[in-house]
Symmetry: C2
Subunit: 347 residues, 2 copies
């Protein structure tokens, strides 16, 4: 809908400026012609400062994430699609079906409107593919040098219809199997390579993807799954250390079983990174009772986003909550989480 | 809870740095010692990437807002309390009781930890006073010059238990009464004065406040309320124009009835502002059938946040959706919304 007296924005060569955040006519133009045009759905069309709806039956899951990745376009993705995938995944990792997203934009004065529209359309496509609706939003414009182009917060609401589903980071038990849905490190290496203008023989693409379909298939087949978490910032190492701490268990990983693409391994060597510490945006760790691991692995491998799924380790009763790795050579080392920064603004 | 091997942060003289956003040990320190310490509640203590809960019966309302106000501390408030009030109010304006908030932080490298803690504590106090829990969050740290100190997104979820409550910006009808809960312009003038180091004889404080208690009292007494909206960015003029457009009605305001503090009026003259365009953070516009206006006004005036409530105008059938003002001198002028910027980064 175009409001009274609203001229079309110059979406080809115009730029966002301070008027687009000022609560007046220009902001309404931007919202109508860029955001509402892309995200169009009945709840957003309520055009109130809140979306109101009847919830489906079940427990609810609420999650938030802010995206500051640089560059905004990288091999395999962009900040818009990633802002949808990231929050959809946080909802899915609670065993929930994502329903609705809100989107909060902080935009730097001067951002080309064409770029904003491209990012917003990418968000809308990602939301549509994931089966979620963007039902509310907010736009702030800040001055030059007060933001690096564009930051996006998304917050998601999902529903857990089946009361038998109880996923939580504190439910890992000694003996449980640790699974992952595919190779690690793709996202971090893709972004880093793009940022540093590195070219590899085999192009490395971000794995940015919505995992809710995969999770639904997994929980349909194996409702006994105890833990799901996506190893984003800090990589697999940080995620497993968090889970070990939360469940008061140890973990032992089998280095040879952890999938890493050859190109990613090579790039990590070049960049001085350990793939275990590198961010992912389309991966999940699943922990389940050992007797259900084979079934779960089969379901994961049958899904396009789990073709290279693997069982990578076992939960232990180790009292210090250490995550250890049995190396290809048969040695064992502790997998710690990093104290310092690795890749800033990776997500 | 302090995680394994986590040393205490230097909350007196330390600063946020890039490690606090990197997904590792330092981020866990920051989350445990600043955020979890202040927001402590059972859902946050789940320590998962999503909060899971049984919703109370009723329709739900979901709203998001991002806060970039500068300066971060101003007379009568700060960015932290305001980030709670703003989203609580957006939920309340749907006629809903706010339940839960999420909080997403974008922090500039170098922000003093003491300041961050002060802001987070202010958020926690505001949330506690409003009766909402902060159940999830996210922290990103960006480099110097990539954010102006701190931006906060909050997203809120609320419930509308009474199916008779139907609040929406498209429900204003010709003849309806337009009410406001108190004087306009305080927030914008307080922030502007603080930014420009202006001193007034009477100090002007932001009206930043959570309006959910007031709204609950109003809807208890007068469930026939048709529209609620908080006139924030763009002020009363922008909000009424939005509502006129949404409901396809006109509005006529009585200038003499619109409460404006003398100090705010004086400051606006000095600064070249019209109070109608100045942002508020603790005000609401209510539109109700004319026969319920007196009752509603009485309930509003009985509440501490509505003592100076007033009936300021009437909805009309004017076909062009114009908002007009009958001046003190008996003239009439159109109240338009601003095309350009007024006060950037006011909320």
């Amino acid at each position: 809908m175009r409001a009274r007296g609203m001229a079309p924005l110059d979406l080809e060569s115009g730029r966002v400026d301070m008027t687009h955040g000022a609560g007046g006519r220009a902001m309404t133009q931007l919202i109508d012609q860029v955001f509402a045009a892309a995200f169009d759905n009945p709840l957003l069309a309520q055009a109130n400062d809140q979306a109101c709806f009847e919830p489906p039956p079940g427990r609810l899951a609420l999650a938030t994430d802010t995206f500051v990745v640089t560059p905004r376009f990288f091999p395999g993705g962009d900040i818009g699609a990633m802002a949808v995938h990231g929050t959809v995944n946080d909802i899915a990792m609670g065993g929930a079906r994502p329903l609705y997203l809100t989107a909060g934009f902080v935009i730097e004065d001067g951002l080309p409107l064409s770029e904003l529209r491209r990012i917003v359309r990418s968000m809308a496509d990602a939301a549509s593919q994931a089966g979620v609706a963007v039902v509310g939003g907010d736009t702030k414009v800040v001055g030059r040098g007060q933001c690096d182009g564009l930051y996006i917060n998304t917050t998601g609401l999902g529903v857990i219809a089946d009361p038998a589903i109880r996923i939580s980071g504190d439910r890992a038990r000694p003996g449980d199997a640790i699974l992952i849905n595919g190779p690690i490190g793709d996202h971090g290496v893709a972004v880093m390579a793009s940022r540093e203008n590195l070219a590899f023989e085999t192009p490395i693409l971000s794995d940015s993807a919505a995992l809710n379909g995969l999770v639904a298939a997994m929980l349909d087949a194996v409702p006994e799954v105890r833990v799901l978490r996506d190893p984003t910032r800090g990589g697999l190492a940080a995620t497993l250390n968090e889970l070990a701490h939360q469940s008061a268990v140890g973990m032992d990983l089998d280095e040879a079983a952890i999938p890493v693409r050859a190109a990613v391994r090579g790039a990590c060597e070049l960049l001085g990174l350990d793939p275990l510490n590198v961010a992912n945006e389309g991966k999940l760790v699943a922990i389940c009772p050992p007797e259900r691991a084979d079934d779960l692995l089969a379901v994961m491998r049958a899904h396009p986003l789990g073709r290279d799924a693997a069982r990578i380790g076992t939960v232990t009763g180790e009292a210090n909550r250490y995550v250890t790795l049995t190396t290809r050579l048969g040695g064992r080392r502790i997998v710690d989480w990093l104290a310092g920064p690795q890749l800033p603004r990776i997500c």
